[in-house]
Subunit: 317 residues, 2 copies
């Protein structure tokens, strides 16, 4: 497919009439645009913003690592502070993935957390957050760049956009805008009981299905899986209510959860800056696929169908 | 949660001031609305519209059945005719699931299909379809019922709605509307090579991630998985390009694929009629969750976040 496209493009370069064709010129595929981005358009993720979970090896002995990027300020910082504290205390070590509900979430933490006699004690000094911290004030910088590409818009929210590498939605009046991260595939959030409880951050889940946007502003999002989501999304589904495993033997064991800056040999990652020219071209291509396979471009893309590209790079040392 | 809600509702029934509260009264959860639907609101799926795929048992010996409902006329009937012909010829028996790409699709058919020397011969007389058959003319009946609930709208399409049990999108002018089924989680489509090839129906895939709406009108959709999607969505991801398995041993074997009316002891299924009052209430509840867990209703729901309820019922014999 790539070869066929290159041929058409090369031909067009030699034939001026191509510019006047009623059909738009063939476009690069989204992945090709990302591959062609310059190094300066990539942003390194700080090691302290990585949360690395090692699950027990699978039945074939293959290690299962899940790497999560934590969100930057001002989003969800109270919960994220708790998560850093829990990771430094090695709190998750020996706990498990307890729930895998198809087309919804994989959730991990203390399987005995609801049982006061058996629950693992939490570290002291965890912050208690309130529901008003699900959103933050102010417009996403540069949101206008995406307003003709992304949907939904005009209904659930005034707009959806990308804010320093993260998908966000916002609504409000010009003098009072609220914005919040959105529940796309791979996003990581904080399990909680009934409101006004907002959860501590000890119980976490990752989205493994179609974006459950009804959870936006009802649960704190704290990050996203940037590597190894398949180690959660391909786990057997739980057969109990809400996809909880019915027996302890079904749970996937957590060997350890560490912050990236606590690891002796961390991997390093970069994301394609959402302020970059290449990211805008990538979003345009996701909204209107014109590479060889496609017959009819869609005219727009759901915010969750424009995943921010992340790549592993050699460590900085 | 259900108990807490019932208590509040009972209290409100006794206290007239509840009707004047600024907060809307608590609503039933979507699942509770479906459970309360009357039998007359459910529509039986004809056995000849079921396609039942048996995969080899998993490592623990658990059988893996995937039940697909085929779409009704006028959608995609040429491909669906081919699929019936292939099923009657037992064409898929002994073939395999060859591709599982995370957050995208699981795909099955002839792993050697691209190799003329090894490919399994197709039955004679399969129809050849063209790209104009990806859509059909005319409005979805009753689409106005959903227009204030569902998004996206106004951009990629004039509207999204439900057409006799199926999620559809449409666009056009009053005198010429085209509509088409949409790529929601669990939908089943026809693999193809580069256009203008549209595929025969021998190579099929199911969506196992966020709705890839850019495939709408670029690929024929023929049905949806109504039971056993987890037997596809929890398969190990392929590590080759596009999620293809790199070695034959990784593939999940297909024992058989049969139409429901060819099975001696078929299961029977019903879907909640999308014309029913209960379905509208269910869609409203999906768009604005007001059951006990929720702090803030979303104000709308993506068409793919309103999955049409399907249930297994005793066979009609």
């Amino acid at each position: 497919m790539i070869r066929a496209l290159a041929t058409v493009a090369a031909l067009c370069a030699l034939v001026p009439i191509c510019a006047f064709a009623t059909e738009p010129a063939p476009q690069l595929a989204p992945g090709e645009i990302v591959s062609a981005a310059s190094q300066s358009e990539w942003t390194r993720i700080a090691p302290e913003d990585l949360l690395v979970m090692e699950l027990a090896a699978d039945a074939a002995g293959k290690p299962r690592r899940v790497v999560i990027q934590l969100m930057p300020a001002p989003f969800s910082q109270g919960w994220i502070g708790n998560i850093r504290k829990l990771a430094r205390a090695h709190w998750w070590d020996g706990l498990s993935v307890n729930r895998v509900q198809d087309n919804y979430v994989a959730q991990w933490g203390d399987a005995d957390g609801e049982d006061k006699a058996k629950a693992r004690a939490l570290p002291r000094g965890l912050a208690v957050m309130t529901e008003d911290q699900y959103t933050v004030g102010g417009d996403a910088p540069g949101w206008q760049r995406f307003k003709d590409l992304t949907w939904p818009r005009g209904t659930i929210s005034s707009y959806v956009a990308f804010d320093r590498g993260w998908p966000v939605a916002a609504e409000g009046t010009p003098d009072r805008v609220q914005r919040w991260p959105v529940h796309c595939y791979g996003m990581v959030g904080v399990g909680r009981n009934l409101a006004p409880d907002t959860g501590t951050g000890a119980e976490l889940y990752a989205v493994i299905g179609h974006a459950p946007r009804h959870l936006d502003r009802n649960i704190a999002l704290v990050g996203r899986v940037i590597e190894g989501i398949e180690n959660l999304s391909s786990l057997p589904r739980g057969t109990g209510a809400l996809g909880f495993y019915e027996t302890p033997g079904e749970r996937a064991q957590i060997l350890s959860v560490r912050l990236g800056n606590e690891l002796t040999a961390p991997s390093a990652y970069e994301y394609l800056s959402t302020d970059s020219a290449s990211f805008l071209r990538y979003a345009q291509a996701r909204a209107n696929r014109r590479d060889a396979f496609f017959v009819r471009p869609a005219g727009g893309a759901d915010i969750c169908n424009i995943p921010v590209p992340v790549r592993r790079v050699p460590a900085a040392n």
